[in-house]
Symmetry: C2
Subunit: 238 residues, 2 copies
């Protein structure tokens, strides 16, 4: 049966299957713990056949990473409809889904370790390719947020708020993965609140940011995540 399936696969289909299998393995363990033999076994093909499609583990790792990056960037897509807090909350849910699915791989990648050791030897090209891929996902997130804020040309402070909040979201996800001691639903909401709080801190210095924030808050429903934050801050200040 497996053989029958294999025979019917075209080159591109087989490559895509191998990338999927590799991504699944690299998601759960560090790259140097995953062997080509294991990838071959999981794909139901021979080791030499893997090498027919990819020159080595490093290129398979890079391809898997590329697919993961595209997958993550796709999850940032959100219709520009309804209150902003709810939109961001849905995106955070999908971001944590991704982090959950690729936990150890995400963690190892963001801590800057495994890309280098993926081939046994280390490769400057892989390090550069990996860093460029991470940056492209950050850039996709940044552009999505600006689009949702209806901002074409961000002020330096607005850019800082959005980019530094993206770092905060990464850090929060990494800390969550390390023991999962806080319910992820709470952290998803917290990151929405964090965004509003960081924007509020900077708004005093920046008319564009103040305008965006006021506009956003005005659209929020009384039971939305931003209203929730405002009530909480008011309680703390009383």
């Amino acid at each position: 049966m497996t053989t029958g399936v294999r025979r019917r696969m075209g080159v591109e289909e087989r490559r895509q299957q191998l990338i999927g299998v590799a991504l699944e393995l690299f998601s759960h363990r560090s790259p140097d713990e995953v062997s080509i033999d294991e990838i071959a076994a999981a794909a139901g093909i021979s080791r030499p056949l893997v090498y027919h499609y990819f020159p080595g583990k490093l290129s398979l790792y890079e391809a898997a990473l590329k697919r993961a990056a595209e997958d993550l960037a796709e999850r940032f897509q959100e219709p520009r409809e309804g209150p902003l807090g709810a939109r961001l909350l849905r995106v955070m849910g999908r971001f944590f889904d991704f982090v959950d699915e690729h936990g150890p791989g995400f963690s190892a990648l963001m801590r800057g370790g495994p890309a280098v050791s993926a081939g046994g030897a280390c490769s400057m090209e892989t390090v550069s390719a990996t860093n460029a891929l991470i940056d492209s996902v950050r850039q996709a997130a940044y552009e999505q947020i600006l689009a949702h804020l209806d901002v074409l040309v961000p002020s330096p402070r607005l850019e800082l708020v959005v980019r530094s909040w993206i770092s905060l979201a990464e850090a929060t996800a990494l800390i969550w993965l390390d023991g999962r001691r806080i319910p992820r639903a709470e952290l998803q909401l917290q990151l929405v609140h964090d965004f509003a709080a960081l924007a509020a801190v900077s708004a005093a210095y920046d008319p564009q940011l103040a305008r965006v924030l006021r506009h956003t808050l005005a659209d929020e429903p009384a039971d939305g995540p931003f209203a929730d934050l405002l009530a909480r801050l008011a309680a703390l200040m009383s």
Copy 2:
């Protein structure tokens, strides 16, 4: 004269001088742009003599990085006296001094590039050593903040707030370095405000954090950075 000085230097003194010279060079350019010849010239000694003290550029880079890490960790030291907002603001001033002094080197290091290429070839040991060094500085910052908050055993949410804020401070400094489009004094204050805002967001879920925050806010002077933040948030909510 230079020769006279050189002759009087002991082994350890010479090593320390070379580390200082290397750190200065690595602070302003990427490691692969700095040659041993240049380090030798800046130290006023011959190239073979550099190799007498260090096996190669990689070990000199590691030593320079270690000194920079110790220097930065020292700047986190702050007497546990007076309002917390003012203490954190002073630390932020010294943090931005450091970032300012070591700009391009700090940037390249935190973006995960140069440690790998520092020797021309790449070295897994250097990558590991570099990551461990960065983590040790983050840990020093984390422990300092807990000490200032008078917390011995942090709750998971308090730990998350402190650690994720440290990531935010790193990201903010990196974004600032890229063009310096926002006055650094403003960002130093902003990070103090960010800390309070992030803590306020999480405090609703966490009694320990709420207690720490209330205690902190109660100690703040009417013209301190936290009072400033509260006034600003109140204005936004009105």
